[in-house]
Symmetry: C2
Subunit: 244 residues, 2 copies
DNA sequence: GCGTGGTGTGTACGGCGTATACCGATCGGT
DNA sequence: ACCGATCGGTATACGCCGTACACACCACGC
């Protein structure tokens, strides 16, 4: 009965909040997730293997399955753990400041853990730590005269932008690391063989003008914040119209 | 010499544009990619296997490797093929109409092919068909008084939003399909065990209010377009300031 | 007629996720 | 103080995966 069936039936998160349940265990879902996060940070998403996690814990490959139902659940745990880095400090007030702070911290988190870009997206919604972040952002939009649908749409718009923008930035960084490229120039040199064929077709004149003449081409933070402020300006419009 | 080394050295895209190179082959990179896309559409991202693709082509597992360097290259091909569905029809004019049309079509494309959400992001940048879409969107922002950096930032902002928003929508749909849930109500019922524990903690009052009282909770198109118009409003601000 | 090179095949290797059966230690009830 | 139940970790095994490598075939230019 007890634990095995519990692992099947009860929500992962409910199980997690009963630390007293297993005092004589050397493993725990938290330790497993931490080791997995370490591997992912150091060696990339694909290197996270049930067997490698177990090895790093000095334990047989199957041992982890007593605490985690499978790889999917491990992923959910990794996301939840790492999302603890999201909560911004005190002293922020107002919806714009709140959403902006979360956006910046989300970007930092995803750049610190580039493997997040590979995670199946639905997992992102349902972990408790992520829900807490969502709650705080939603609450900052409360009381401005918006209906709940519009509040949620605004929240989602900002977060969709942040995820989309940071995913491509993180994935590029990770790709650079895999290839051993250290700088933007080195990357351009590495990508040149692929790129030059495309550019020489003459089909992409505007794009070409950008690669030649842009001043902020390598300033990822500027690009991110410029886009972010666009989205926040749009939300501000929504808020004004809602207030009226 | 010839083909094997060529497969290693020359860009995939350059190879593709020489159809005359191999007249007596029964396979081709295009056919392989099409079959792979079919499998991904029907059975999901994880079901795309070199072996399964080969089987569907009635060919030995290793045969595909004569035309495609490995699974990564197959992915790039799949993305490029499917991106042909992006180009919007005629009769659109102005940056806002152009960006909006691409956004809507990108969403439709990603919902038609939910496996796109699982693709490593850098591949998205460098395929010829995607570059063509980028070029057309960038060109629509040209001549408005924006510098190239700002043009690119605006383009990226819209596309980041579109990808982020549609990824989570597509991933949710795919998850529903995996679970056999057909409707929004069925999904809520299926998610309830996970959800109710979280909600009953009382930590997410605003979120709870949304799940109870929202009118457009299941209108994904409305949510997408509301967010999209936010972002476009933000870009409009950028354009106005650039014009001044 | 014959080498040559492009195309598909067969075999094999190492790694993966995980089902299943197992074993010793520990605990609750008596 | 005992004893079954249960829990944490183990050992073994299966069927899949991507792909390296050596080989067989066939069409062609000479």
């Amino acid at each position: 009965m007890a634990k095995k069936d519990e692992t099947d039936d009860v929500s992962l998160w409910e199980r997690l909040e009963r630390p007293a349940a297993a005092p004589r265990a050397s493993l725990s879902a938290g330790r497993i997730a931490d080791v997995a996060i370490g591997i992912a940070d150091r060696e990339g998403f694909a290197a996270v293997t049930m067997r490698k996690v177990a090895a790093e814990l000095g334990v047989a490959p199957m041992a982890a399955y007593r605490h985690v139902n499978g790889k999917d659940e491990l992923w959910a745990l990794m996301i939840d753990r790492v999302s603890g880095e999201l909560a911004p400090g005190d002293g922020i007030s107002g919806w714009r400041e709140t959403l902006r702070a979360y956006a910046l911290r989300t970007r930092e988190m995803m750049l610190r853990h580039p493997w997040l870009a590979h995670m199946p997206a639905p997992l992102f919604a349902l972990t408790p730590t992520r829900m807490a972040a969502a709650e705080r952002q939603l609450a900052s939009l409360d009381g401005l005269g918006l209906d709940v649908d519009t509040m949620m749409a605004a929240f989602r718009a900002v977060n969709a932008y942040v995820h989309g923008a940071t995913q491509s930035e993180a994935a590029l960084r990770q790709y650079m690391e895999e290839q051993g490229w250290q700088s933007a120039d080195e990357t351009r040199r590495g990508l040149a063989p692929q790129m030059s064929y495309l550019m020489e077709t003459g089909r992409y004149p505007t794009y070409r003008r950008y690669t030649r003449g842009a001043a902020r081409k390598d300033d990822a933070a500027w690009q991110f914040e410029t886009g972010l402020d666009c989205v926040l300006d749009g939300v501000a419009g929504l808020v004004e119209r809602g207030r009226a």
